[in-house]
Amino acid sequence: MATTTVPPAPPKKVNRIGLEMANYKGNKTTLCAGCGHNAISERIIEAFYELGVEPHRVAKLSGIGCSSKSPAYFLRSAHGFNAVHGRMPSVATGTMLANRQLIAIGVSGDGDTASIGIGQFVHLMRRNLPIIYIIEDNGVYGLTKGQFSATADIGSKLKTGVVNDLPAIDTCALAVQLGATYVARSFSGDKKQLLALVEGAIAHHGTVMLDVISPCVTFNDHEGSTKSYSYVKDHDEPLEEVSFIPFFEDIAVDYDPGTSTDITLHDGSRLLLRKLARDYDPTNKIEALRVLTEAHDQGEILTGLFFVDTKRPSFIDLLNVVEEPLATLPESKIRPSKEVLDEVMESLR
């Protein structure tokens, strides 16, 4: 540590571990200009910067599709893995089994999750693996030029005039039901809410399922689409106003006890939910499913934190795995002695 008293050149803005925002950025995006996915990458960069997470502790994972390219556009110095279509959850599971000290962030799309990947998605949710699972949800296959995905709303229309006549899969309702312990929805254009939800996600220990409506400017941002910017802006109904208070900051936020809920996350940081329209309890599973179903029926896109459970043990805890990464255990811990082999051989005589 420098101990000199001479004031240095004008200090660059750094976070609590002394890193600049630039340390959290990624490569230049190759997605379309105005793509909602880029806004999500920016919030991810801000959230990790604000919380002062060391980038090398993060493992970025994705499947295949436009969304799945985006891990290259944030946290350049973290390891990234762009896996196969719809199967990122298994790769993320293996990664976390190998090194439980990592912070896994998985970025998927609606096709990658709700169509080809629904099987792995379902099992990821029920395991409560520690991971931040983000769906960049535009209801359309961008990379193959605009086919419907399974999250496209019934009645929505493609540029070609094709109308979707099947009901959408609500990934949030599914995640709540299956056992994810932090389930939220946001909109890529809602900077404040999305940032708070991502920060809360980083502090959570368990499966975070964050569905972010992210309009596709090329194939799904027109009048017939229910995931266009204008449609979402008109129909977005925030469930609550979310503020995130990291555990290392002095907690001095003005909130009225009568109108807010306060959730303490694993690392001691807190999520402050300022209720708008109704008395909402995000620890109540049934309530979460109710508000989601109601919003659907009313054609609204409900955003906010629907459900959180900070008590349920994570998958890694259930497996009773040693604290240090399995990946780097020394030979003395992973190869039993010759005496053990002799004992086994003796039992087989």
């Binding site: 390891h79 990234g80 199967r87 298994s90 599971t93 293996g94 090194n99 399995l326 992973i334």
Partner: protein
């Protein structure tokens, strides 16, 4: 090579048949779910404990209860342990198959049968030993529900008397089988004794087969290949195991779980030095292996053909993104569901080239339970050294049957983790390029997620990339990468276990085989010599890519018979891809694909027929 054209014929035996010692095959025909496994294992163990070389094959249906099952035990003083086509002794317990089973017997064979089946009427050239099983077992086992299970122990007693198996060894085997269940052991022991006493009083010896104590199993163990592979994985330092149940591989991971719980819990913390996950399907199982291997764990899965088909895409990713992982393929009969409880070597070609584009994977071929252990240990070293998925190719015969073996050797080599750079290395080097061929062996250096250095991170992808692991569609980057991967495969060629060659001076031809075919080949080589005066050299291939020694073996023989347990000559096909025209011309295939383990006589007959043709 025979040059006289005269066939050697065995002299007719004198009128009174001499006794035949320690050379017989017993076939027990039962219904699955009837508890015959215990009776059969006890029988196998008792003969083993008498010091007689012995082997067993369980031919069972894909069913929980009610379908026919055959268990074959071969005792052989010469040490041959391959399956034999026919048996000298039949135990007919299954009414459904009894008549057909009796008809398959050679003249002079013996048949112990359930009296009710009245089999005696079927043949007059077979010796029949009728046993009233129900009458015998009823007083022994008052509980009618248990009777079905204990009933089979009666034939153990009958056979012990007829063949001279020592009852003391039956008793010992029972105690080993039931370990802590003293009551069950006692009940079964009484049933065995009842059978013995019945035979003593009522069944005078008419056949000529006897078993007599030898000293050829001293120090040896009995174990199935799946358990042996599980032990290999544990001593190979596996840390992440993901699997999906499938016959015949399930018991590999199930046994591994038992061993790991006993021997791989950290003594200081009481926590597991491993993670084992039953995945939702094989796609997830291999995906987890890829994630874990990427993050630095020694990761494995075990499966069979249908699972491999599902894993194809991920294995291609593992090849191209260069991620270590070990896949045990306990092969069974395909295509599709095929014969899920029968054995084959049908995944060789598929696994060698699994996935889209130009892909090639190392395969290891254990022939024995000992090699299931040693090659499992080696597979983890290879996977990390070469940074690629490695297959261990066993089969149902090896995986699910009990085999005698010398005790397994403790691994001599320390665990090798391959080219992994630490934060200190990066500090010294200033950085690294993931896919640069620094050492000229085609294998780059990698870092693990979580390495505390700003230069450690890189992006792993199945799409085109350059030496810095950056997305690239440039033709020269693609070619550069593919050529390096080809170089890496040459490194693998020099690194995988070489063949085991049994060279015969002045050999008439060579035989080339792999995996469980070995046991039939060993016997066939002797049959060819003794019965046909044909001398064969034998090359047992232990890995793909093929070592140079394999190619040289083919080059120095006039003709080489490639013996495999599949229809399409799959390994021969792989050889053809690598050999020059002159060598390819020498290859002849001997193929066996009926689902039963290979027997020596089939190999001998096929080779003799070829040799006569020329």
């Amino acid at each position: 090579m025979a040059t006289t054209g005269v066939e050697f014929k065995e002299k007719e035996s004198p009128a009174k048949p001499a006794k035949v010692v320690n050379d017989l095959s017993i076939q027990v025909a039962t219904v699955n779910g009837s508890g015959s496994q215990t009776a059969n294992t006890v029988l196998l163990r008792a003969i083993f404990q008498m010091g007689i070389p012995v082997s067993a094959k369980n031919l069972f249906p894909s069913n929980i209860a009610g379908l026919p099952t055959w268990f074959t035990i071969r005792a052989c003083k010469f040490g041959y342990i391959a399956r034999r086509k026919d048996s000298e002794f039949l135990v007919a317990m299954n009414p459904e198959t009894a008549e057909e089973d009796v008809h398959t017997l050679q003249p002079g064979a013996a048949c112990v049968y359930d009296e009710r089946l009245d089999l005696k009427r079927l043949r007059d050239d077979v010796i029949f030993y009728p046993v009233p099983f129900d009458q015998l077992v009823a007083p022994v086992c008052p509980d009618a529900r248990l009777r079905k299970l204990v009933r089979n122990m009666v034939y153990d007693g009958v056979l012990a008397r007829l063949l001279g198996i020592e009852m003391e060894e039956i008793h010992k085997a029972l105690q080993k089988q039931f370990r802590k269940k003293a009551k069950a052991a006692e009940l079964n022991w009484t049933a065995a004794r009842v059978g013995y006493e019945f035979a003593e009083k009522n069944l005078p010896k008419q056949d000529r087969h006897v078993l007599e104590r030898m000293d050829k199993t001293r120090g040896k163990i009995l174990i199935d290949g799946n358990s042996a592979a599980a032990l290999g994985a544990m001593f190979g330092g596996v840390t992440v195991v993901t699997w999906y149940p499938i016959t015949p591989s399930s018991s590999l991971c199930e046994t591994l779980i038992e061993y790991m719980k006993r021997y791989r819990i950290d003594k200081e913390t009481g926590k597991a030095t491993f993670a084992i996950v039953q995945a939702e399907d094989e796609l997830a199982a291999i995906g987890m292996v890829m994630g874990a291997g990427w993050a630095g764990a020694r990761a494995m899965t075990s499966t069979s053909g249908p699972g491999i088909s599902l894993m194809a895409e991920f294995v291609g990713l593992g090849y191209y993104a260069e991620i270590p992982g070990v896949i045990f393929d306990v092969q069974r009969v395909g295509p599709s569901t095929g014969l899920p409880t029968r054995t084959a070597q049908g995944d060789v070609m598929k696994n060698a080239l699994l996935s889209q584009g130009d892909t090639k994977h190392p395969l290891l071929f254990p022939c024995s339970v000992e090699e299931c252990f040693t090659l499992a240990v080696e597979a983890f070293n290879l996977a990390e050294d070469l940074q690629t998925p490695v297959f261990v190719m066993t089969d149902l015969d090896l995986g699910m049957n009990n085999w005698m073996s010398d005790p397994f050797p403790y691994p001599e080599k320390p665990i090798q983790r391959g080219k992994v750079l630490s934060a200190e290395d990066l500090q010294r080097l200033g950085g690294f390029e993931r896919y640069r061929d620094v050492d000229g062996d085609g294998v780059g250096y990698r870092t693990l997620p979580g390495t505390p250095h700003p230069a450690a991170g890189y992006f792993t992808r199945g799409s085109g990339h350059n030496v810095k692991a950056i997305y690239s569609e440039r033709p020269e980057d693609y070619v550069n990468n593919m050529d390096r991967l080809a170089r890496k495969f040459e490194t693998a060629r020099a690194r995988v276990p070489g063949p085991v060659i049994q060279e015969a001076p002045n050999a008439d031809f060579g035989i080339l085989a792999y995996g469980t075919s070995h046991w039939a080949i060993v016997e066939s080589v002797d049959q060819l010599k003794q019965d046909h005066d044909l001398t064969a050299s034998y090359c047992r291939v232990r890995a793909f890519p093929f070592s140079e020694q394999v190619k040289d073996f083919i080059r120095r023989h006039r003709r080489v018979y490639v013996v495999e347990q599949n229809r399409d000559a799959q390994l021969c096909g792989l050889l053809r891809l690598e050999l020059e025209a002159e060598s390819i011309k020498k290859l002849r295939s001997v193929l066996h694909y009926c689902g039963l383990p290979l027997d020596a006589r089939s190999v001998t007959d096929a080779i003799v027929a070829y040799e006569r043709e020329k």
